[in-house]
């Protein structure tokens, strides 16, 4: 499934306007004013959550390339909305869900009536160990475990839960069946710890496919997150460059100093490297390639490198104003660090990459 460059551009342009209008990055401390249900439905009605689902399954047929483009636009404004979770959950249910799951859940995931959350990571580092257990019982499954830092976990109607049975498995769980404990995170996004205390799910809540679906879902989530991170880095760099072009000291624009010019250029280098990786990973997702996990690691790793540098420089290059709660630099650096840590930080990703590559 591929989408033309023109279609992709149109999708991006529309999304950029909409996100800027409806969910702009705002300076300030505390909780991000989470997107209201009405606004989220409006975004979903434009087909955003359906982007990666093929048309024959009721989706928009833009592929992961399309979903990635939209996520980058959301990331530009570091907007807190469940597009990543809904977009990926919809694609996974369409492809790997039971008949019942597709009938009951897919329409709501596609049009946004049902909010999804990806309950994959565990612990402080979202490492690769999977401690959540799935036990067979009475023709269904019982899930036991604790997921950490689940984006939208307390608002979710449907959770995609990674658990270990005789192999890593992926289940759909009802939001009302889990205990979600909201977290006050540094970046103000709506995260929650999700406790699965003997949650019963039916056999048809299990997603079925070839290979390790947990690794697959983790890969898709990393790619989606990396797309958001590249968007955030792109916007942050624009804000920095605008400041360098307007701020004057010593009687000249500070952007005319070569010391600052080269540092800005280095940010663009890292950003473009990350963008190439995200594009390659999205293509791997659309082509269902075997190297998806590697490319997902690469995309998230490089996006992490880029956004770490850019968000750090964003504070420094703005000088004192960058340290105040009146400026968005603080919001970007906090959002960046949380995103870097989600689904595995760079040390962990590098280790996993070495494992896959045989060293």
């Amino acid at each position: 499934m591929t989408v033309s460059a023109d279609d992709l551009q149109m999708l991006e342009d529309t999304a950029r306007l909409w996100v800027r209008e409806n969910a702009p990055a705002r300076a300030g401390l505390g909780r991000d004013p989470a997107l209201g249900p009405a606004q989220w439905r409006a975004a979903a009605e434009m087909g955003w959550a359906a982007a990666a689902v093929p048309e024959e399954a009721g989706g928009a047929g833009f592929g992961f390339a399309g979903l990635g483009a939209l996520l980058s636009e959301v990331g530009r404004e570091i907007a807190d909305m469940p597009l990543l979770a809904n977009g990926i959950a919809a694609a996974l249910v369409a492809r790997h869900g039971s008949d019942k799951a597709r009938a009951d859940l897919l329409p709501g995931l596609l049009d946004g009536r049902l909010r999804a959350a990806l309950a994959i990571g565990e612990g402080a580092h979202h490492g690769s160990a999977l401690a959540t257990i799935a036990r067979q019982q009475d023709g269904g499954w019982v899930l036991e475990g604790r997921k950490s830092w689940v984006a939208g976990g307390a608002q979710a109607d449907v959770l995609l839960v990674a658990a270990r049975g005789d192999r890593p498995m992926l289940f759909l769980a009802d939001g009302k069946a889990v205990k979600a404990e909201a977290i006050d995170s540094v970046d103000g996004r709506a995260f929650a710890h999700v406790l699965l205390d003997g949650v019963m799910v039916a056999e048809d809540a299990l997603l079925v496919g070839n290979g390790d679906l947990v690794a697959h879902a983790t890969g898709l989530a990393r790619i989606g997150l990396a797309a958001e991170m590249v968007g955030a880095g792109e916007r942050a760099l624009e804000i920095i460059v605008d400041y360098l072009k307007t701020r004057e000291q010593f009687g000249r624009k500070i952007g005319s100093f070569q010391a600052l010019q080269h540092r800005a250029a280095l940010m663009l280098v890292d950003l473009e490297l990350a963008r190439s990786c995200v594009q390659a990973a999205l293509a791997a997702a659309d082509e269902e390639r075997e190297d998806l996990e590697e490319l997902a690691i690469l995309a998230k790793y490089m996006a992490g490198e880029a956004i770490h540098l850019i968000s750090t420089e964003m504070v420094q290059m703005h000088g004192g104003i960058g340290m105040t709660a009146e400026h968005v630099a603080g919001n970007y650096i906090k959002w960046a660090r949380v995103s870097e840590a989600l689904l595995g930080g760079n040390a962990l990703l590098a280790e996993r990459y070495a494992t896959i590559r045989g060293y």
Binding site: V241, G255, L260, E272, L273
Partner: protein
């Protein structure tokens, strides 16, 4: 699978010799030219097969010997060649640098005369840009070309002319109007290196190799029809060609031999546990290096797709900067991993493979200088891409 992909795959299976699927040692790089050498005869066989399809220059028009492919097809061809681990059939500054600007700025006669021998690897080109007094400030070049009615008379000196000692022709920037502002008095001239008055002297580098030369022009007569583009309009062409150069030195990894994997050197240095590098901290550094390196490769490919669809631009300086950084990081890692074994110069006390790593490390120091220094590329990014003020 598309029909074209299937066709390419079938063609590769039928035509790619086994020995051309292995990493290429430097001495087997097929540079073509009047004195082409093929230490591995299968390199010649592969080159001839590729030339027959026009696929040394996949996107050039068939009328000039090219493959006539569109950008999407060229991408598929590239992917399938990589998938088969096929070595490039031809390394050529003609293909990478001169050809694209001839297609854009050359006359019909120039295209017909110069492009087909490039596609077929019959003429090997080198680049006459830098001079002793014109490095990063290239536009201050002083090599003169005087109008003598029926020919140009060229006098001056070029430096860092890569492989001038092995090349057949040179594309050179020459000053045709010394009175004009420096960017406006430069023209782009094609010169046969067999012309009387041309002499070439290789320069010995810190690595002991001599890929670069000094090239001297002493009353060299050049036919009038060898000027590309308008008189005194060479700077535009020069800049365009530099973009192709930056992209391509990166694409071929600065000629660096990738046959030794850095993770294997690390396994030797630190030992293995269950097939893995025993030292976790080292393993992490190696993985981070390889991740960066792979990102550079993907970005290089992305910038080539831009080129195939007709735009060279923002990414070329990014690619040039980052690939130099990656290759230099690799060199430093290799020498560090080998320890003192990586610091020999010659002789039987050292493993030849280790000596090669030492030389590669030293050679890589030029990567951030040749084809535009890293500092110049950062200038280009900050001014032309980010729009920062003077």
């Amino acid at each position: 699978m598309s029909d074209f992909r299937a066709e390419v795959r079938e063609w590769i299976a039928a035509n790619l010799p086994d020995s051309i699927r292995t990493p290429m040692p430097e001495e087997e790089i097929p540079w073509g030219g009047r004195n082409a050498s093929f230490p591995n005869p299968q390199s010649r066989q592969w080159l001839e097969a590729v030339i027959a399809k026009g696929w040394t220059a996949p996107t050039w028009p068939a009328a000039y010997g090219g493959g006539g492919l569109d950008a999407a097809q060229a991408m598929i061809l590239q992917e399938e060649l990589e998938r088969a681990n096929a070595r490039p059939a031809l390394f050529s500054f003609g293909l990478w640098m001169l050809g694209p600007v001839l297609l854009e700025y050359g006359t019909e006669e120039q295209k017909q005369r110069f492009l087909p021998p490039i596609v077929r690897g019959e003429i090997r080109w080198c680049q006459g840009y830098s001079e002793p007094g014109a490095g990063s400030d290239l536009a201050s070049l002083r090599t003169r070309a005087e109008d003598k009615g029926d020919h140009w008379l060229v006098n001056g000196q070029k430096v860092w002319t890569t492989y001038a000692d092995k090349a057949d022709w040179i594309f050179a920037l020459v000053r045709t109007d010394p009175a004009a502002p420096k960017h406006q008095g430069i023209s782009f001239l094609l010169i046969d290196l067999r012309t009387p008055g041309v002499s070439v002297r290789p320069i010995e580098l810190i690595s002991g190799s001599s890929p670069f030369c000094e090239t001297f022009f002493d009353d060299v007569k050049v036919p009038k029809e060898n000027m590309v583009g308008p008189l005194n309009g060479g700077w535009t062409i020069a800049k365009k060609l530099l973009q192709y150069e930056r992209q391509n030195v990166s694409a071929v990894g600065f000629g660096g031999d990738r046959s030794v994997r850095i993770e294997d050197l690390a396994k030797q240095a630190a030992g293995e546990v269950d097939g893995r590098i025993a030292d976790g901290a080292l393993r992490n550094r190696i993985a981070r290096h390889n991740l960066y390196d792979r990102a550079v490769d993907l970005t290089t490919r992305r910038s080539q797709i831009d080129t195939d669809s007709g735009s060279v631009g923002a990414l070329t300086s990014v690619v040039k900067y980052a690939s130099a950084k990656a290759n230099q990081a690799r060199g430093e890692l290799a020498v560090e991993l080998l320890g003192l074994d990586g610091l020999g110069w010659s002789g039987g006390n050292f493993d030849p493979r280790d000596l090669a790593e030492t030389r590669k490390w030293l050679r890589s120091k030029g990567n951030s200088i040749e084809g535009g220094t890293s500092e110049i590329n950062l200038n280009v990014i900050s001014k032309r891409v980010l729009g920062l003020p003077d």
